[in-house]
Symmetry: C2
Subunit: 204 residues, 2 copies
């Protein structure tokens, strides 16, 4: 698929308006009828555009789903960023990262199930938006580790890459929507017990 | 569903033979055509029994799938038990638990995909066989912790239940077939990095 679909195009502002219009309508339509069961024809009919016209702006249904998914993941990242921004220590940042990301994912599942399903498809098939999201989560984990090591909160013997990766693997089932749906019942305890285990492993 | 379907019935040996015959045929049939797409009628036709006759022995398709799933999970547990039995230390038992269970699950996925799919359905819907499997994994983790605490390998401050649960949550995405299919690419590194992280957290 086209990995550049989110980058600004050379098209004019009118084209951008149409793109936004399609995305807004598609978000509502997929949010109501589900992503997998909806075709571009269904969507075109619902918006009142021709299928050919939609294809002028998006290569495929996935390209539309990808923008919707990116938007949602950006909302989740904003929640995570806000949660950890004011944390006084690296340890507290790690706890808040676990709590905020698993709760934001659960909220999406319980309050916007059909849009959650797009994220689940995207996670299952590792769409570029999901890969980029995982790269951001990894970067946040690494920055928390660097902060904690510098502050003397965390040990410095284990290679940074290994620790970052291990923590990412622990949090991934709560980040990846394809997996989170099987972990919803354990989110409250996981958000407490997993960072506690990790923090014991990071003790200097 | 009937949770007692695996317990010995009061039926005679002939009935057990018929049950085994159905299970063997169903294992082959599901293994070839998949569980979700096969009906009891399809199965009856393939075995050469009437549908009513099969229903004399099994309440539902799930009851048949449940026995197949139990058999597979018992094979996986045998592999895990063998892997940890000879380990010289609790730390090594923990490493082997991670490696053996994630590899046995991956093997099932790559070599018997249709039977893996039964386990994935069973994990998604939390069939009794899967719940019992998870209880056994938890018990193994707890026993390893007790051994390690007694030998002075592991810290004893954290409540045993909390540590057991945290480790179970870390390993679960590699035990639960519904989730493992999304983690196959990380199994080799997870089998090294996750026990290493846990062992750092258990340091006295």
């Amino acid at each position: 698929m086209n990995e550049n679909m989110n980058t600004p195009s050379t098209r004019g502002p009118l084209d951008h308006d149409v793109r936004d219009q399609v995305i807004n309508a598609a978000t509502k339509h997929f949010g109501h009828y589900g992503y997998e069961k909806t075709t571009v024809s269904d969507l075109a009919k619902a918006i009142g555009f021709s299928k050919a016209y939609i294809y002028k702006f998006f290569d495929s249904k996935q390209a539309i789903g990808e923008v919707i998914c990116s938007n949602r993941l950006a909302m989740i990242m904003a929640i995570v960023d806000a949660a950890i921004a004011e944390a006084p220590t690296a340890s507290e940042k790690l706890r808040r990262l676990f709590r905020s990301i698993s709760e934001a994912g659960s909220d999406l599942f319980f309050h916007d199930r059909k849009l959650y399903d797009i994220a689940a498809v995207a996670s299952r098939d590792q769409w570029p938006s999901v890969k980029a999201h995982e790269v951001r989560i990894r970067a946040i984990i690494q920055q928390i580790l660097l902060d904690g090591r510098e502050a003397g909160e965390f040990e410095r013997k284990t290679p940074l890459d290994e620790t970052t990766n291990a923590i990412f693997l622990v949090i991934r089932p709560y980040v990846n929507s394809a997996q989170l749906q099987y972990n919803l019942d354990t989110v409250p305890e996981a958000a407490v017990h997993l960072p506690a285990l990790i923090l014991r492993s990071l003790a200097p």
